[in-house]
């Protein structure tokens, strides 16, 4: 039932930059003048073309635009918009101005969607952060394309109305029809989480994986091709606890902005810690985030609260590894753009894999110890300092495969991991890898600290390595259900660092015996 | 054979074996020139177990005594290094020797002596011309 024509038609929406959304409203006015329909203001190209799409969509719906000068503008005026998400609210604002839809809509309803020339409402990315912003603004209802409905429904306190055409919007808003139920998305395929039971042998690596999971430590898997490095890396997420609401929503927001949530049938919030394994030939933008125009989140953000697996570490370009320094250190990645810097979260655990030595390590290895240390020192740089575990994987012989007992199952190990993580959470609200050195030292036995100190004196550990090894020892103590870090835990932590050898002391020991030096 | 150390026992066995080998050569009609010959040069190591004359040949013999019953090949005793040493020793002896041996040929033999503890008399394996 048409209502009186207001002076200005208004519709509410939200714009998303990075993961931040802000409220936006679109206003439409009509005046005397040559018939035209244009969008003014500093908006993106797609938004400017919205006028054409809206006109076509309305025509398809049977609403003819009067021959007046129609102007649409955004408030705030300079919305860093992108894409066609504002087609639908723009159409709604026009319909409100025309009296087709009630003006009261602007008080309690928001709209988000792209319009097809046939009047259909299409899904858009970043609906989740937009929906949260809208809900936070106190708006009670959101109209989105059916494909975006499940995503928006993750936000509590918001009534989500799925629509497939502009006609639907008119019908629901005028009360001619009840809002449809959110379409039941197809059940998410129960992706089998790979189980640790499948891993045979590799005692050191399995233990290192458990420590990494329990403390959030970064690790480097060393082994020849085909010995199971990928297999192990892909099993780390399974050992991590399910994401809580906050973390799951953060991850979902990143996926939403990346356009990965719409229509993919995510029935409920995905709480599984993600695993991303980019290829070493990937671009910086794909890895870190960016791309022309819209700064989309990269692999590291898609691995937020999960695992980033870098296989063939020595094939990666140095500049990409260097660029990982900031995200690994700070948990966010900043992508600079002309108008603003977009920030995406990137809190992830790093698993790297590499051959153990220059010859590959398969079969009989002829590399001398000096060759191997020189090779491993190539790991130097931003990542070397951050890796705390470096287990050696040995190739399995056929005999071992037949006779080796199956490893413990993921469930059993995950239980231990969860208990250890709980201890750390109680102690300092996070995992050990992110605890401050002073705090960790305070929980250590003097004998343990002395042992670490001696390792530094002997040149086995660098100064920085002291605190890193101590953090791992703290995790070993947690796994041992021990409130104080003791010598034994330090021993284990040092043994796990053996593949890294901060200062390459083993070379200098052997070389001082082999090379001519001072006659003692 | 009461609490005799193994080393002494082995040395004893070796001496007994050499004696048996010498007796064997004498039974064959050879004349034994010298036993356990060492050169004057201290840097030329080793010794020749038996140097004997067989007809027109001067024979340098290596004696290998075993107490095991199994028939091990006596030739196994002659390793490449051992062979080299025998030749050097032979040449040194020939250089030092005072008798005129220019008309005789030189030969190397290996004599294996198998003497298990229970046996009264040992078994002799005599390999002629073991080193060419």
């Amino acid at each position: 039932m048409p209502s009186a024509e207001p002076a200005v038609g208004r519709a509410r929406s939200a714009a998303v930059v990075g993961l931040t959304a802000l409220e936006v409203s679109i206003e439409v006015s009509m005046s005397a003048g040559l018939p035209s329909f244009s969008v003014i203001g500093t908006v993106g190209a797609a938004a400017r073309q919205a006028a054409d799409r809206v006109r076509a969509a309305l025509t398809a719906t049977g609403v003819r635009l009067p021959p007046r000068k129609i102007l649409a503008s955004f408030a705030p005026a300079d919305v860093p918009t992108a894409g066609a998400s504002f087609d639908l609210p723009l159409a709604v604002a026009v319909l409100v101005r025309l009296g087709v839809l009630p003006a009261s809509l602007a008080e309690d309803t928001a709209f988000l969607g792209e319009l097809g020339l046939d009047g259909g409402v299409r899904p858009v990315p970043a609906v989740l952060p937009a929906a949260r912003c809208i809900a936070d603004a106190g708006v009670g209802r959101l109209f989105v394309s059916g494909a975006n409905a499940a995503e928006a429904a993750l936000i509590g306190g918001l009534q989500v109305v799925p629509v497939s055409t502009v006609a639907d919007v008119i019908d629901v808003c005028t009360g001619a029809r009840r809002a449809a139920a959110i379409p039941e998305p197809p059940p998410a395929p129960a992706a089998a989480v790979p189980d640790m039971r499948d891993v045979r042998g590799q005692a050191e690596a399995r233990r290192a994986l458990e420590i990494a999971a329990a403390g959030g430590h970064h690790m480097l898997l060393l082994g020849p091709p085909g010995c199971g490095k990928s297999m192990l890396a892909s099993r780390l997420p399974g050992l991590l606890p399910a994401l809580d609401d906050r973390r799951a929503l953060e991850l979902a927001a990143v996926r939403s902005v990346a356009g990965l949530l719409s229509g993919s049938g995510h029935a409920a919030l995905d709480r599984r810690p993600p695993l991303r394994r980019p290829h070493h030939a990937t671009t910086a933008a794909a890895l870190l985030g960016g791309g022309s125009g819209v700064a989309l989140p990269g692999e590291i953000s898609l691995a937020h609260h999960g695992v980033l697996f870098l296989d063939e570490l020595f094939e990666w370009p140095r500049r990409l590894l260097d660029a990982l320094r900031e995200p690994v250190e700070e948990g966010v990645v900043r992508i600079a753009r002309a108008r603003a810097t977009v920030t995406y979260p990137a809190v992830f655990q790093l698993v790297c894999a590499a051959n153990p030595c220059p010859c590959g390590g398969a079969g009989t290895c002829e590399c001398s110890d000096a060759d191997v240390w020189a090779y491993r020192r190539r790991l130097s740089g931003p990542l070397a300092d951050r890796v705390d575990l470096a287990p050696r994987l040995t190739p399995l012989l056929a005999d071992d495969l037949v006779g080796a007992p199956a490893g413990e199952s993921t469930a059993v190990i995950a239980a231990r991991v969860a208990a250890a993580r709980a201890m750390a959470a109680v102690r300092w609200g996070g995992c050990n890898a992110r605890a401050t050195p002073a705090d960790v030292r305070a929980t250590a036995d003097p004998a343990a600290l002395r042992t670490l100190g001696r390792a530094v004196e002997d040149g086995v550990l660098s100064g920085r390595g002291f605190d890193r090894a101590l953090r791992v020892a703290r995790t070993c103590a947690d796994l041992d259900r021990c409130p104080t870090v003791q010598r034994g835990h330090v021993f284990e932590a040092l043994a796990h660092r053996a593949g890294l050898r901060d200062t390459g002391r083993e070379i200098s020991v052997a070389r001082s015996a082999m090379a001519p030096g001072q006659v003692r | 054979m009461r609490s005799v150390s193994r080393m002494t026992h082995r040395r004893q066995l070796g001496q007994d074996g050499e004696a048996a080998a010498a007796a064997h050569l004498e039974r064959l009609g050879w004349s034994i020139v010298t036993r356990n010959w060492r050169p004057d040069d201290p840097h030329l190591r080793g010794e020749v177990d038996i140097i004997a004359i067989d007809g027109r040949s001067v024979v340098f013999c290596e004696v290998k005594t075993r107490s095991g019953g199994g028939a091990g090949d006596p030739l196994e005793a002659v390793t490449p290094i051992k062979e080299r040493r025998l030749r050097l020793l032979a040449r040194a002896w020939l250089a030092e020797a005072e008798h005129d041996l220019s008309y005789r040929t030189v030969r190397f033999d290996v004599i294996g002596v198998r003497w298990p503890p229970s046996a009264v008399a040992p078994a002799i394996d005599h390999v002629r011309d073991a080193v060419r």
Binding site: A510, M514, P516 | H43, I81, L88
Partner: protein, 364 residues
Amino acid sequence: MTVPAPAWRTAALRLAVGNVDVTRQQRALSDLLERGQDCGPEQVVAALERHGGCPDADVRRVQRRMAALGARFVLVGDVQYPAPLATAWPELGAPLWLFAAGGPVRLVTTPAVAIVGTRRPTLDGLRTARTLATALARAGVVVVSGLARGIDQEAHRAALDAGGDTIAVLGTGFGVDYPGGSATLRAAIADHGALLTELAPGAGPRPWQFLARNRIISGLAAATVVVEGGPTSGALQTARLAAGQGRDVWAVPGSINAQNSQAPLALLRDGASLLTSVDDLLDSLALSRSCAAGVTGAAADGGTPPTALSADARLILGLLGAVPATTDELVAASRLPAHAAMVAIGELVEAGCGVTTPSGVVRA
């Protein structure tokens, strides 16, 4: 052999500075032998004069340099020419001349033993070289080697540390810093032993010269011991030269899995004597064992006595050897859970009983 007259010395020095090499010497020698002629040093020098030599200015320059270095030119037949080498002259290819620096080489009554091995030894090989050289030095035996990195230098150093004498046979002339950084060691050897070389001062290293110098190493010693070496190592060649010279050849057995055991194992197969302890060697040289008292090759655990280690650490220690063992291997052999094995490894490294290498853990 009569001492060569001064004229021949100068002629020989001219040949040496002119780098008339071993092959040419031996050819001249065999020529003379074939013709049934006298082949004392003078005759060989005379035969060689046709082939090589150098301007007088060069000879004088070298003489000045030798004076500055305190080096001497020794011809075979000189009193100072090492007696064990002289017995190899002429047929077995002893060098016609030697340049000597340091003390006089008195090997007539004092025996010498050569210790040779690879340039890339394992820690265990280094330990063996040290133990042997120390015991020999304490027993008054001169240790001979080639100053190469690895086993050679360890043997020289251990002999010096034990207060003994050592002779280094160089693959270069004097005044050349090869191997790099060995100047201090060479100086110490000159003080307590001698440096010998067939090459004129300033002559740099060439691959074939090392083979030639190996015959001098083996020729100086009553016995040559090969501690470690790969299948094509120079140490193997030195040992075979020793056998050719009628000297004793000893080899130290290593793990059949280790690359560095290939040379000693091959020699043992060929009939070298098995060296399982220093006593074997000393006995054969008919030396009193009491001189070497207190030095054994058996595992002397320096540092923490085994009883201070935990049971797990002692268990793992018992499994460690000279061949690196990976954690997985130790876990499988000890049947300890992985984390307990790692704790034990860390404990052993801290106590100095074990060393981690890129290929695994080795006994220290």
